[in-house]
């Protein structure tokens, strides 16, 4: 690790710390229906939405209605996204004629399973990409189907988190807010302004935004190269702010058109965490005790910083086998040292390690380097981050409600040790809450483990419908041994956690992977959201127990430590066997000189 690298990480963290309170306060005002400085400008737009769609702003919903609205909304979003993709050939804004006979030879066919996978992926805020954007999707699909979902799926996540906060903040209430209002407010007051400013900034730094057809250039070597174009900046901003992560191009944020400079890289990383970090403060603000929010923030920060430094340390020390061959691995004024494979020179090791940790801690999934090329320990952290459910800041809204799930388990298990029925923020944690938290926990663990297990052994004949020319499901792997296993594990972890980043190395565009990863994404999204909304409804109906010295304090270091311990032990114990057969053993083998 170099002082420069540590400084970069430190500055990033301080910036996040600085924006948490103002953004959190702003969100608390927006979702409590109070006026903000943007109201004069945006309130008419908000009202217009309600008028057009016939929403009664003041009518609140019970948790079941709230969940019903969310499911209905997601289902129609899915249908729309699916149809856009399947029909792109006959729709406008398609300069490269994808989906028609005139498409370039390199284009990928939009099969039903791919369209299913992609639609699910964007509706669930996952943005797992089985497709290559520049060779598959028309501009209309990118903008109207995918970018729109980037907005609303992120807004839906925020709405759920706000509903859960209301459950904690209210007492003896049966309503937890109105899904349509929360969704609209999240888009209008939060995501739109942030994306607009973000997109303009990215454009100013060189991110492209056009509708032109691809440019053909002759390179210095005299060869022709096709350079893809498109409305990138507008999608790029919401991709980060909404923790979506689905790149316009296959290379995602390592592509110079998406992420051209170290400055855009820093801003993109800030955009990922700004809402998730701010929501911790919103929690504290709305329950009337900001210390509670900071405690959650602290627990997330601890896990985040440990993760960053493990990745950075592993990447900076690089592969010992290369050093043995006499290759310079130490950082110096003229070179970065360490493991530069799969990393962009303009970002370097520290900024790439930081980006990888952020994108998997949050459920973003954008990448500015190839995680597949990381050292085993460098790859372990992103896997771990996703497998504990992306609660380290996490996705917009998803991170907070995921972390509150662990907070509920933590106070339930250890809170008993103060000799009272466990409480969190004055709400008794009883059978119903525990049951819902366990359903969510079991659902995500189950999809990751079962699908990974199936793909590790399932056999298909070569040329079968399910897995095409690859044959067995392991035929899609680029690498063998533990690293190959990590590629499968990563794919399902990423899907179930709604992350969307890929380890790469797994050719996932086959019906088997498209369908199973699609299912993983659906289960990973809705089997957490519905139980958490049930928790919100149940908590809202309860009385608030007054705080006394007999109350387990959930704002101090003790709780922070307990929460971290619960996430690590309860969240990760399940995956320890799987991880020890992938990055952990790979790490030991690397030390013995075996590489994969």
């Amino acid at each position: 690790m170099t002082p420069n690298g540590i400084l970069q990480i430190g500055i990033y963290f301080l910036l996040i710390l600085a924006v948490t309170k103002p953004v959190g306060t702003y969100m608390a005002r927006v979702f409590s229906g109070e006026r903000t400085f943007l109201h004069p400008l945006l309130r008419p737009l908000e009202r217009l939405c309600y008028v057009l769609s016939g929403i009664k702003e003041d009518v609140e919903q019970r948790w079941t209605q709230y969940a019903g609205s969310l499911i209905a909304f997601s289902f129609f979003s899915f249908l729309l996204a699916y149809l856009f993709q399947r029909l792109q050939g006959i729709l406008p804004l398609n300069p490269m004629a994808f989906g028609t006979a005139a498409a370039p030879a390199s284009a990928t066919a939009m099969t039903p399973d791919l369209a299913f996978n992609t639609a699910v992926s964007f509706v669930t805020n996952t943005n797992w990409q089985s497709y290559v954007g520049e060779t598959t999707m028309s501009y209309l699909v990118q903008m109207a189907a995918l970018t729109v979902q980037n907005f609303v799926s992120a807004a839906a996540g925020i709405a759920i988190a706000i509903a859960l906060i209301r459950g904690l903040a209210r007492q003896q209430a049966n309503a937890i807010g109105n899904f349509w209002v929360d969704l609209t407010r999240a888009v209008v007051y939060l995501l739109l302004p942030l994306s607009l400013v973000g997109a303009l900034f990215l454009c100013s730094q060189g991110v492209i935004q056009n509708m032109g057809s691809y440019t053909k250039v002759t390179t210095l070597e005299g060869k022709t190269q096709v350079i893809a174009q498109g409305p990138v900046a507008s999608q790029e901003a919401i991709k980060m702010v909404g923790t979506n992560g689905g790149g316009f191009f296959n290379a995602n944020s390592s592509h110079p058109f998406e992420n051209p400079t170290p400055l855009t890289n820093l801003v993109q990383m800030l955009m990922i965490f700004v809402i998730p970090a701010g929501l911790t403060y919103t929690l504290g603000k709305m329950v009337g005790d900001t210390r509670q929010g900071w405690a959650i923030f602290a627990a997330m920060s601890i896990m985040f910083l440990i993760g960053v430094f493990v990745v950075y340390g592993a990447e900076q020390s690089g592969n010992p086998n290369l050093a043995k061959l006499g290759i310079e691995s130490n950082a110096s004024a003229t070179q970065s040292g360490g493991n530069m494979e799969g990393k962009e020179v303009r970002f370097g090791i520290a900024a790439t390690s930081l980006f990888a940790t952020i994108t998997t801690a949050a459920s973003c999934g954008a990448v500015n380097g190839m995680h597949d090329s990381f050292t085993p320990l460098g790859g372990l952290v992103p896997l771990f981050n996703m497998e504990v459910g992306e609660v380290i800041f996490g996705g917009t809204g998803a991170g907070l409600y995921g972390m509150l799930l662990f907070a509920i388990l933590a106070v339930f298990i250890a809170g008993l040790m103060v000799g009272r029925t466990p409480e969190y923020l004055g709400k008794k944690i009883e059978g119903k809450e525990v049951k819902m938290a366990m359903i969510a926990l079991i659902a995500t663990s189950a999809v990751i483990l079962l699908f990974t297990g199936s793909s590790a052994v399932i056999h298909f004949a070569k040329g079968s419908y399910w897995n095409g020319a690859y044959g067995p499901a392991t035929g899609n792997l680029n690498n063998s041994g533990p690293h190959g296993f990590a590629e499968i594990l990563y794919a399902y972890s990423s899907g179930a956690a709604n992350n969307g980043s890929a380890f790469a190395g797994l050719s996932a565009n086959t019906p088997w992977y498209n369908l199973t990863i699609g299912l993983a994404m659906l289960i990973g999204r809705f089997l957490i959201i519905i139980p958490m909304l049930a928790v919100a409804g149940s908590l809202a109906a309860k009385k608030r127990v007054p705080v006394t010295s007999g109350t387990f304090p959930t704002h101090g270091p003790l709780f922070v430590g307990l929460l971290v311990g619960t996430v690590v032990i309860v969240g990760a114990l399940t995956f320890f066997p799987a991880l020890s057969l992938s990055p952990i053993v790979e790490h030991f083998l690397m030390a013995q000189g075996r590489l994969f």
């Binding site: 339930f412 298990i413 250890a414 809170g415 008993l416 040790m417 103060v418 000799g419 009272r420 029925t421 004055g426 944690i429 009883e430 059978g431 525990v434 049951k435 366990m438 359903i439 926990l441 079991i442 663990s445 189950a446 483990l449 079962l450 990974t452 297990g453 199936s454 590790a456 052994v457 392991t474 041994g481 533990p482 190959g484 296993f485 009385k543 127990v545 007054p546 006394t548 010295s549 007999g550 109350t551 387990f552 304090p553 003790l558 307990l562 311990g565 032990i569 309860v570 114990l573 399940t574 995956f575 320890f576 066997p577 799987a578 020890s580 057969l581 952990i584 053993v585 030991f588 030390a591």
Partner: protein, 704 residues
């Protein structure tokens, strides 16, 4: 006989203030109970019975599966039979140990129930017919509403209310207290319990319960666990551990394909055998808490019982741990119950010793506790011994409601003591004057919550005795502890607000309810509950019944009326209202024990991973030996040691589960820090040396 009680926490602990008689206490390892428990744990192997405990059920299924593989291996003569045999045996032991914990707790209850049942002989009752005639019927024929007669020496045939007569009754059957108690018609001492014996006189009793529903029947059912229902917290905890079991089941089941992939990729080693996979599963699922959970609950009820409190449900015991507000009756709970002389304040130039002498003389014939306390104070402070007054010409004047004073005429002196206005009048009648400092002293005492008792010798006013409600020793510290636990204490008293405030301040309660009527109590409870608090109270009278029913924890006194006992959810057989504080501590201890063992159980998993995972895959990936940080001898010995540790830890923790984790009355933060350190961090660390030691033994014995 060793004492089994809530561990004492030093001299300020309330259990030291309680009577030391523990009627139902038994040693933890009574041979008879152990025998029953061993039989019980075998009977509990029945899988249908085990279904209600999913964790242990999974272990049993695992044991069956490994045993089947053992049989197959025996038939085919496969290698490694010794290992599979040992794993199977230890899995069966794990189930048995878990069963043993529950059976042990149940056996303790059964032993008590048997003792109670012995007293339940079918007696003959004299039923009074409507015409006034008396017929002899069997007790089992009595129905609620029947009137019976009970003469001295007879057993009372059923629960009832005395409608006529007064008698002393031996209730030692249910209370363990050999001193008889008085039962009389009307008032708050009218309830009698079936199975108790009338010692003197004759009672006419109205039966209030049908056969099979009597107090004694309920008591037997409760201690036997027949009516045991899972409490809300127990249900929630069961969901948690069942969920964890399912998650680990998934982790282990999917490990098989993971291993298959890895073995193919590495080209060496083998997929772990079923015995090894089952071992990993059993080690990971929370068997410790799964095995001990119901034992903890039963033991909690048992502990309440050892304090001579009968809880009507486990839920009530659990709720007592959650209590935020304690309503404590002043008399008998906070104060000793009688006013006592604490000070002599002379006036009129009288010396303190002269006043003490006069006060003592005037009180020699006063048999009230107040009068006796005057004699005692004079003796302790001024060395004045009670004198033989028979030799003198002494004429005692008893207290009368009309004169409101008492005293003695002795050797020509007219000594009187009484309310200050009565004494003032007496002095004036005798031709004396009342000095202003007498009135002043009397008023000062009143303001401080005491009762002034003026003393006069004929026409001379001598001074004032300060009679005070004396707060029980240790009560102040105890209330401070309750405050540290986050529990508000509210003193209930019939006194006027001034007196109440003074005593409240001295005792250190957080609030008081003066001149409290039963309706005031009820409203206070409702108000507290509306603010989200749980309230506990004690009561004995019929007019307490609504409040007892409303309170989350209502501790009725056994001496109280049947209505009060029906309304409350606990009955204190000793009728000691201070016991409420003990009950709260037991409720907390119950929850703490559950939390501690759950945390410990989950924390244990880390070490087990480090034992089993490298062992499973050492042949496939020898590099994983790096994870064998305990340096266990070989793969089989590592797996076996982890399984043995997992089984033995259940047995090792049975005493803790039955006795409960030590509870200290400190703030939640301090308590959590301490318990997290012991059971959380301790739970992570302990298995490492534990498994290592077992591995050494396994190696030395050549078992694997």
């Amino acid at each position: 006989m060793p004492k089994v009680a809530v561990p004492a926490n030093g001299p300020t602990d309330l259990s030291d203030l309680l009577p030391k008689r523990l009627a139902h206490a038994r040693p933890l390892f009574d041979p008879d109970i152990i025998g029953r428990a061993i039989r019980g744990s075998l009977l509990k192997l029945n899988p249908v019975a085990l279904l209600k405990n999913p964790v242990i059920f999974v272990v049993e299924v695992g044991a069956v599966v490994t045993s089947l593989f053992l049989v197959r291996d025996l038939a085919t003569g496969a290698a490694g039979i010794g290992f599979t045999l040992q794993i199977s045996l230890w899995l069966w032991f794990t189930v048995l140990f878990a069963n043993f914990a529950e059976a042990m707790a149940e056996a303790r209850g059964k032993a008590q129930a048997d003792a109670l049942r012995k007293t339940k002989t079918d007696s003959v009752a004299q039923r009074v017919l409507s015409g006034g005639k008396v017929e002899q019927v069997s007790a089992s024929q009595l129905r609620a509403g029947d009137i019976i007669l009970c003469d001295a020496g007879e057993l009372i045939s059923g629960d009832g209310e005395v409608v006529e007569g007064i008698a002393s009754v031996d209730e030692s059957v249910i209370t363990g207290e050999s001193a008889p108690v008085i039962r009389e018609s009307g008032g708050d001492r009218s309830a009698v319990t079936g199975g108790t014996r009338v010692l003197s006189d004759r009672l006419k009793i109205k039966i209030t319960s049908n056969p099979g529903e009597t107090f004694l029947d309920r008591m037997i059912a409760l201690v036997e666990g027949a009516e045991r229902q899972k409490t809300p917290n127990e249900i929630a905890l069961n969901i948690l551990i069942a969920g964890l079991t399912l998650i680990f089941l998934l982790a282990v089941v999917t490990l098989q394909p993971f291993a298959q992939f890895s073995v193919t990729a590495a080209g060496s080693g083998a997929v772990p055998s079923v015995a090894v996979l089952v071992s990993l599963l059993v080690c990971l699922i929370p068997t410790t808490i799964g095995g001990l959970l119901s034992a903890i609950g039963i033991a909690g009820m048992d502990r309440v019982m050892q304090h001579n409190v009968l809880a009507m449900s486990g839920k009530a015991v659990e709720a007592s741990g959650d209590v935020n507000t304690l309503l404590l009756d002043k008399t008998g709970t906070i104060t000793i119950g009688n006013r006592q002389a604490v000070e002599f304040i002379p006036v009129n130039g009288v010396t303190p010793a002269e006043l003490a002498d006069a006060a003592q003389l005037s009180s020699l014939a006063d048999e009230t506790p107040e009068g006796r306390s005057v004699v005692v104070l004079a003796k302790e402070k001024y060395g004045l011994r009670g004198r033989e007054v028979a030799s003198h010409e002494a004429h005692f004047i008893p207290f009368s409601a009309y004169t409101r004073m008492s005293g003695v005429d002795i050797d020509g002196r007219h000594l009187r003591k009484g309310a200050s206005d009565s004494i003032s009048q007496f002095v004036r009648e005798q031709g004396g004057t009342v000095p202003p400092d007498l009135i002043e002293a009397a008023e000062r005492i009143s303001r401080q919550g005491g009762t002034p008792l003026a003393v006069a010798d004929g026409r001379k006013a001598m001074g004032v005795i300060n009679l005070k409600d004396v707060v029980k020793g240790g009560m102040h510290e105890r209330l401070a502890q309750l405050r540290a636990m986050g529990i508000r204490t509210v003193m209930i008293t019939g006194d006027n607000p001034l007196t109440a405030a003074a005593i409240a301040a001295e005792a250190g309660v957080d609030d008081f309810l003066a001149q409290a009527s039963p309706a005031d109590k009820l409203n206070y409870i409702k108000k507290e509950q509306a603010e989200g608090r749980l309230v506990a109270m004690t009561g004995d009278g019929t007019n307490d019944a609504p409040a007892l029913a409303q309170a989350d924890v209502g501790l009725a006194m056994n001496t109280g009326t049947m209505a009060a006992k029906e309304a409350g959810n606990m009955v204190d057989l000793d009728s000691n209202p201070t016991k409420l504080i003990e009950v709260v501590a037991i409720g907390k201890q119950l929850l703490i024990t559950r939390g501690a063992l759950t945390t410990f159980s989950i924390a244990n998993d880390i070490a087990k991973y480090f034992a089993i995972i490298p062992a499973m895959f050492m042949a496939t990936y020898p590099a994983l030996a790096n994870l064998n940080i305990m340096g266990l001898h070989n793969a089989q010995s590592a797996v076996l040691s982890a399984v043995i540790f997992n089984a033995l830890i259940i047995i090792a923790l049975v005493p803790l589960a039955l006795r409960g984790v030590k509870y200290r009355p400190v703030s939640a933060g301090a308590l959590l820090r301490r318990n997290l350190l012991i059971y959380g961090i301790g739970g992570i660390i302990v298995p490492f040396p534990g498994i290592w030691v077992i591995d050494q033994i396994v190696h030395v014995l050549g078992l694997a």
